[in-house]
Amino acid sequence: MVREVSYVVVFVSLMFSGASRSFAEESSRPSIVVGRVMKADGTFSGSMRIAFDGPNIKSIQPALLDVEWPGADQYDSGVAVPGLFDVYSEVGAMGSRDENSYAVDAAANAVDAIDIYHRQIQQALAHGVTSMLIAPASVNIVAGAAAVVRASGRHGIEVLRDDGPLVFAFGAGVYQRDREPTSRMGAAAMLRRITADANDGRGHQRLQAFVKGTMNALAVCQSPQDVTVAANALRDNLGHVTFVHTSDVHDLSFEMEAARAVVVGPLTFDMSSRTLSAAGEWSKAGLKVALAGQSPRYSFDSLRISAALAVQYGMSPAKARQAITSVPAEIAGVADKVGSLTPGRFGDVVIFSDDPLRLDAKILAVYVGGRRVHPGQARLAKMMKETR
């Protein structure tokens, strides 16, 4: 109930503030015609016309390219992809989400750390990233609830969920020198105690909801052993746990088999091949794999770089495209709103000059809620002129 209210309040307030400003700047077009469109399964269809209805997608229908479509933005060689989703991001919240006084801080909300008008949002849009999951920093064993946000225009972001997955954190960041736990051993003992308490009906309601299976969780793990510890301590609810783990895949973690999904990334060029092949290995083993960009700590392009590297090291291209769009949306619990180009979802579309897995593909335009937010009108005109 609280969620709905806050959602409506935020949305309405955005409609009247930031959003109205962008109306004035942009000429809103009712449709886009594009050479290829990414389907829900990660592959491409032929040329299509995407029509908007308010902020949502109204329809996607086959369209001939040779024809001039009146009133439509036309990208004959373009590739339309759902707005990219960074499932482990810090946009607008850097430096203000690492309170570590209490090792168990289930009541913390990442949404409280976000500056919804932060300049990084514009930067994200310029790289095609339109939605993010922002988790509390992994410095507490129970770090709090993640926030799921989406860009609502050129400047602002809209909160889709303020009670996203509950975040459990493992690894060096959790072991502090001025409070318990100071070691992985202590952290694991503590977590077992907490979950046992929650099973007995004690502790924060989010923890209780998690052990009942009504709330999903992210387990942020640093080393493979953290995964083992997490899997062991959370074993009764593994189906609701998504592992965030970017270390090497020494062997396929049997611990993760029962997990809901796994988040890998960002993958960078200087990682070992064993780490780079992790996404492919897990994907082949039937796990749902999302790739994270950790923007803005890493470049906003790291999502695409990660996907390209994952493909180079064994992931199928379609799965890799899903791993930066629909799978993150699913993990964040907002698959009904973003993450794929389907009528009824938000009209968040990125037009690339080629397959986004190709790193030489340029971003031609970014649409948020059916309105073009990048590049601006003047810049677009200049670009068009140059390409001709």
């Binding site: 070691s183 992985r184 694991a188 052993q225 062997d251 049997f254 700590r297």
Partner: protein
């Protein structure tokens, strides 16, 4: 021509990788497939059963990971995997009853005698090592690579948190819980990286089962785990929660926590007792005393009260449900351990026992088994920094055996050239008979770990954990050529 050559080279690479995987990664998929033939037969000139008996010119037959026959006329079904090398001897897989597993993400323990820096060099590229000296956040942080201005380092938390101790010393001591001196509610398994290369090194040295020992930094430490060093990950953990390790002597007062030295004269929750031997004994006594009070329903209070979470485990130790081990090196520490145990009616296993030759009668009288080792003249590894090792003599192990004390031999943190097989070699040189030595690294530890129904000797019905040696086992020029765990070949050094 050139393309052909290239293709060939590429192919060779894959073969090499595959081979590497087979040798280096026991537990890797490939090895599981390879070793999973339902029947394996191992021929050898000498089969040392481990209980003192020897079979000459015989064979060991393993079916579905279990030994089904040992003898001179053992026959296998068609299609069985055959292991037959020249001049072969077979012993049971070795068991280290007190192995310190490299337990952190960086290698924090001195690896044998090599400098931490050298270890880091092996683990990372030199470029990374060079960066370790001072990170860009100004701290001695190993991974302070990319982080934004004005923000805490994402790895070490600097400047919000105290920087980690110098890397290589103890940077991420994931097995040292500093919040209390009484932590039997924690498990060392949580601190250990099951994928640590340490296990492969152990397996290579013929060690197939270990008791992963907790650190000695707490008076009443955490619970050890019994693990296999090779085989599929799912089968690695034999017992997740085993004995609790207590420590006498000086180590709890200086290892791990900084009991005496608050960081930059800041008093933190780490600044606490004990700082002396007396303090160690006091905390041990107080913990059990409080546990008894708690059982009686009394309120606990006062300094050094054990954490609430530990009371359950303390109760179980008193009730004899959790075995207790006490590490003591010097004579008076051993005697203190005996005294404290008597006080609370506890039975325990003595670890290390460096000076136990000085108090054999007490050890014998109280029927204390000993896990002795490693053997040394000049203390190796982390013991080099200890003040408790000066009284080490070469005959202690032999004396313990002569007095009928059940004694297992351990290499603790030492590997390779000082590993368990080499410890056995030293023991032989120091005058212990072959059968006694073999027993001290197989049957005796299996009994002390209460896994003797499963491993420890080569008998029908036990697990197929064995070593095929070329030459006489433990000899200087003999080495494990094939190591099997549960009937799977996990180390294979046979010339192809």
């Amino acid at each position: 021509m050139s393309t052909k050559l290239f293709r060939h080279r590429g192919y060779g690479w894959h073969v090499l990788l595959a081979l590497l995987n087979c040798v280096m990664l026991p537990g890797f998929e490939a090895i599981a497939d390879k070793g999973e033939a339902s029947e394996v037969i191992v021929y050898a000139d000498h089969i040392y059963i481990g209980n003192g008996q020897t079979v000459d010119d015989g064979a060991v037959l393993i079916r579905n990971g279990e030994i089904v026959a040992v003898g001179t006329d053992v026959k296998s079904a068609k299609g069985a995997t055959v292991v037959r090398i020249k001049d072969a001897s077979v012993t049971p897989g070795l068991i280290d009853a007190n192995a310190a597993i490299e337990s952190s993400d960086l290698m924090t323990r001195p690896l044998g005698r090599r400098s931490p820096r050298a270890v880091l060099h092996d683990l990372f590229c030199p470029r990374h090592v060079d960066k370790i000296s001072v990170g860009c956040c100004g701290s001695r942080c190993s991974r302070s690579l990319q982080h934004a201005n004005g923000e805490a380092c994402r790895e070490c938390g600097f400047p919000n948190a105290a920087p980690p101790l110098e890397v290589g010393n103890r940077s991420w001591p994931t097995d040292v819980e500093n919040s209390s001196e009484v932590i039997p509610h924690t498990r060392v398994l949580d601190a250990i990286n099951l994928r640590s290369p340490d296990f492969a090194r152990l397996a290579k040295g013929g060690v197939t089962t270990v008791f992963a020992a907790p650190d000695s930094s707490a008076v009443i430490g955490s619970r050890g785990a019994i693990l296999r060093t090779a085989g599929p990950m799912k089968e690695r953990v034999v017992r997740a929660e085993d004995a609790v390790k207590a420590t006498m002597g000086t180590e709890p007062s200086w290892r791990g926590g900084r009991n005496q030295m608050p960081w930059r004269s800041r008093v933190t929750f780490l600044t606490r007792r004990p700082t002396t031997r007396m303090g160690v004994a006091w905390i041990f006594r107080k913990a059990f005393y409080d546990s008894i009070l708690h059982d009686k329903g009394k309120e606990l209070g006062g300094a050094d009260t054990p954490p609430r979470a530990s009371l359950g485990a303390l109760h179980q130790i008193l009730a004899g449900e959790i075995p207790l081990r006490i590490q003591a090196r010097q004579q008076h520490d051993i005697l203190t351990a005996c005294r404290l145990a008597k006080e609370f009616g506890l039975s325990f296993i003595l670890e290390e026992g460096t000076e136990s030759h000085k108090c054999l009668d007490e050890i014998q009288a109280q029927k204390v088994p000993v896990i002795f080792g490693p053997l040394y003249i000049d203390a190796p590894g982390s013991r080099r920094f200890s003040t408790e090792v000066g009284g080490s003599l070469l005959h202690t192990f032999q004396r313990l055996l002569e007095h009928g004390v059940p004694t297992a031999l351990t290499a603790n943190e030492l590997r390779d050239e000082d590993g368990l097989a080499r410890q056995a070699m030293y023991a032989l040189k120091m005058g212990v008979s072959f059968n006694e030595v073999l027993r001290a690294v197989t049957q005796t530890p299996s009994r002390l770990l209460r896994i003797d129904k499963e491993v420890g000797t080569l008998e029908k019905g036990k697990r197929g954990d064995l070593i095929v040696w070329q030459g006489r086992p433990f000899d200087a020029d003999a080495r494990p050529v094939v190591v099997m765990s549960g009937g799977r070949i996990v180390v294979d050094k046979r010339p192809s």
